[in-house]
């Protein structure tokens, strides 16, 4: 009996060991050349369509756009080696790279490019759908784009990820994208939505051959899990670190950390058509009540990210050193509110004609710092006697609230360089009628005419002065109230060298990496 029990116990223990014994390779093993580079990030792949895949395949250098951009946002040749515009600014000609090949071995022709652009043009999410296009035609080894009216930022729009050029074999019935056949230095080896992508270097790539030939990307939702993967050597390049984990990894000092300021700003969208918030003095008071430095230090763990103006230093053309910075000055805020007719009631909260100063702020948790910042703003406004009702919901509440006019304040982050030329986003956000992620119930004729002049094709004189004028107007009128800028970090293992983050978030530049010697 006892002997049997011992046998059973040994057998069970053995079974457990066998099941848990299929352990992976140790974290400290030397890199073999065939070993894939392991990239871990927070983004899941929900769709292959260029308009909705969130720039996955341009970041991974699988697909190319006609025009590329360097880390400063200056336009560079992509799949097109050069482009020219006609004298009347109505016709553009993009010359394609000679002998470029798709990953299925077919040639990149003007016809296939035209087809891909026509598909992109039909998607509401692509900025190409708002360009005043007349037609896109194949013209020998070039693609010709005809416009109904001059549009200077066209080349920049053709650098947007939604205009990536895929081979005809990528499309299934009804122009649905079934697979990603691009023309970049890496080709897709295996895809498992939503979380795994495996890449191999494309043999026939005409440019510099990537030193690292195999890459695997894995989406991991929780930032704590990502930090642990980086620590255990399960990941070579890790994106999307929360401030706390990042601080811990910095203190541990075993991994390299690189960061870059993004052209993203966290801002408060204000409904200027609102009977309380329509008063510019009230908007200025809200701005003066925000202790941005403390918020950036305590919540983002990064005091330099306190916004002093809408455009961060990573947009050097638009960031103005000369502008009066946004300050924290509660005394002036109180005075402005008093000028606007708001006085403390019996309970210390502000009121005017018997009405309390109560407004609602909508935000969403997709970016983890937004709800935390919202509660910090709530606390600061309470000190002034303003009740802020914070509603954390879905990101679509903001455009939906803009459309039905119910939005009072919205907190979100806006990337001004989704198209390398920030002008495209600005002209849209501050159009006279307003925009989902821009002004609401506010317009300024001087600003509109400046932006329109710049977007027209007639190369205006003194663009720097015009940009300064835009910044000055936004800084004094505050149709959106800047809160913080943004820094992106990547944690890099000691096994790889040469990662330089792209502030435009266009590419992860994996083809430039090398294995550490």
């Amino acid at each position: 009996m006892f002997a049997y029990r011992m046998k059973a116990a040994v057998a069970s223990v053995a079974a457990v060991l066998v099941m848990s014994g299929c352990a992976g390779t140790g974290a400290n093993s030397a890199p073999a050349p065939q070993q894939p580079l392991k990239v871990v990030g927070q983004f899941e792949l929900h769709s292959l369509d260029p308009a909705t895949s969130g720039g996955f395949f341009t970041r991974l250098q699988v697909a190319e756009t006609l025009v590329d951009a360097d880390n400063q946002g200056a336009l560079q040749p992509g799949l097109a080696t050069e482009w020219e515009v006609s004298g009347d600014n109505l016709s553009w000609r993009f010359t394609l790279r000679k002998d470029a090949l798709f990953h299925d071995g077919t040639a990149v022709t003007a016809e296939t490019v035209t087809q891909a652009l026509e598909t992109a043009r039909g998607k509401a999410a692509s900025p190409l759908s708002t360009v005043p296009l007349k037609g896109i035609t194949a013209d020998g080894g070039a693609v010709r784009v005809d416009l109904a009216e001059p549009y200077a930022p066209l080349a920049a729009v053709l650098a947007h990820t939604s205009t990536q050029i895929l081979a005809p074999s990528s499309y299934g019935a009804g122009q649905a994208v079934m697979q990603i056949v691009g023309s970049g230095p890496y080709r897709v080896e295996r895809l498992e939505q939503p979380s795994n992508i495996e890449l191999t270097a494309f043999e026939q790539w005409q440019g510099t051959k990537p030193a690292i030939t195999k890459v695997s990307y894995q989406a991991v939702g929780r930032s704590e899990s990502r930090a642990l993967m980086a620590e255990s050597g399960q990941s070579d390049v890790t994106f999307g670190m929360d401030p706390t984990s990042l601080q811990r990894l910095k203190q541990a000092g075993k991994l390299d950390i690189t960061d870059v300021t993004l052209p993203r700003t966290i801002l408060l969208k204000v409904n200027a058509g609102h009977d309380i918030l329509g008063d510019v003095r009230v908007r200025q008071a809200l701005s003066l009540s925000l202790d941005r430095k403390s918020m950036a230090t305590a919540l983002l763990r990064d005091p330099e990210m306190a916004a002093t103006q809408l455009f961060p230093p990573s947009l050097p053309e638009w960031h103005q050193d000369s502008v009066t910075p946004l300050e924290y000055d509660p005394a002036s805020a109180r005075k402005l509110l008093a000028d606007a007719g708001w006085a403390p009631g019996n309970d210390g909260m502000l009121e005017r004609n018997g009405r309390k100063f109560t407004v609602t702020l909508r935000t969403f948790p997709d970016r983890p710092e937004l709800p935390i910042l919202a509660t910090a703003i709530q606390a600061k406004l309470k000190e002034l006697g303003i009740t802020l009702d914070v509603k954390v919901g879905n990101s679509s509440e903001i455009p939906a609230g803009h459309q039905d006019g119910s939005l009072e304040l919205g907190l979100f982050s806006r990337n001004y360089a989704l198209v390398p030329d920030a002008l495209v986003t600005l002209a849209d956000d501050f159009a006279p009628a307003g925009a989902d992620y821009g002004a609401m119930g506010w317009n300024n004729p001087a600003l509109t005419s400046t932006l329109n002049t710049m977007a027209g094709g007639t190369n205006p004189d003194a663009p720097a002065d015009r940009r300064k004028q835009v910044t000055d107007i936004l800084q004094s009128e505050l149709p959106v109230i800047p809160v913080a800028w943004y820094r992106q970090s990547a944690v890099i293992s000691k096994r790889v060298d040469g990662l330089a983050l792209d502030p435009l978030e266009r590419s992860w530049r994996l083809s430039d990496l090398t294995w550490a010697k």
Partner: protein, 329 residues
């Protein structure tokens, strides 16, 4: 574990009855769950088209224009009852439709999520059973002995520790500290070890407890004493009488635990980035991906029916004696 050398046979009559009842139950579940899901989603606050657009395009691109495009493409303007009838009609032809957010066929996506979740639950269950039953049987050998008291301590500790915390501790120890197992992710065989172990720790305590109590109780039963009296060896008594009778109790208990396990893996799935049903359902609800919500909820509901069927059949096999209701037939 080989429970017995005695061949197990499921009596045919009761088995057919079980299967028939469960099939009717499954059909009712499909109808009820789909309709309930649809109604609940329709009554949630917020505009569905905007939500779907947010899921599709992400927070940088969800605009009124993209929401309008979604509305037109998916025919969300149609009356709700028409949309529901469409879904049910498609279901009759076993067509689960396509996801509103990703545009991919739901059957394929669901297959991946379902197999991931079932894999994880099965691995956790196997680990928990191996550890739990072994410890339980050994503890029952001397009720009140050292091992028995240690088992009690283990059960309390395992139940008190939240899976999230336990998972983190395991990652810190095995991945960060020792570097022998991957911390999170999916795709390699070794990825399953830590999440399964996290789930198994809590379960194994319960299994150990139930096994120990049942074995102690059966050991004192008259038929076991009789078997010993008539001269059967200790090993045969253990296999034929004790283990088999323990199995009847344990299998019913496992059925219940497995349901909790499959539906309770959400936390563990999120910590270990394991693409399972819990993960899929949370995302689908957030984006109002109606077909995906219906399909996922349906899969969970049918899983309950399937598991109950397996438990019924398993109990029949281990204990073929007629049930009280059937004794009169």
């Amino acid at each position: 574990m080989n429970p017995s050398k005695t061949a197990l046979q499921i009596p045919a009559g009761p088995a057919v009855r079980v299967l028939r009842q469960r099939a009717i139950q499954a059909a009712a579940v499909v109808l009820l769950v789909s309709t309930a899901c649809f109604a609940i989603v329709q009554s949630l606050p917020g505009d569905i088209a905007f939500r779907i657009a947010a899921g599709r395009y992400g927070y940088d691109h969800v605009t009124a224009a993209s929401a309008d495009a979604v509305r037109a493409e998916l025919g969300l303007d149609r009356p709700a009852w028409q949309q529901l009838l469409d879904w049910l009609a498609n279901l009759l032809t076993l067509d689960l439709g396509t996801s509103l957010v990703t545009g991919a066929g739901i059957a394929g996506e669901l297959g991946l999520y379902l197999s991931s979740s079932v894999q994880l639950a099965a691995a956790a269950l196997a680990l928990a059973l191996a550890a739990g039953v072994t410890v339980g049987v050994l503890a029952a050998a001397r009720p009140g002995g050292v091992l028995d008291r240690m088992t009690t301590l283990w059960v309390s500790a395992a139940r008190a520790l939240p899976p999230f915390l336990l998972g983190l501790v395991l990652i810190l120890f095995f991945s960060v500290h020792l570097g022998v197992l991957p911390a999170a992710g999916h795709g390699q065989a070794s990825n399953i070890v830590l999440p399964a172990a996290t789930l198994a720790v809590g379960l194994s305590g319960l299994f150990a407890r139930v096994t120990r109590d049942t074995v102690v109780q059966i050991r004192q039963s008259e038929y076991v004493r009789f078997a010993a009296t008539k001269g059967l060896g200790g090993r045969l008594v253990f296999l034929r009488h004790i283990l088999r009778n323990t199995g009847v109790t344990l299998i019913a208990y496992i059925g219940v635990q497995l349901l909790i396990l499959i539906e309770g893996v959400v936390v563990v799935e999120s910590l270990f980035a394991w693409p399972g049903l819990g993960h899929a359902l949370v995302h689908a609800i957030f984006w109002r991906d109606i077909p995906m919500i219906q399909a996922t909820a349906l899969a969970l509901a049918l899983l309950v029916v399937v598991l109950n069927t397996v438990v019924d059949l398993g109990s029949l096999a281990l204990d073929p004696r007629p049930r009280s209701r059937e004794a009169v037939l």
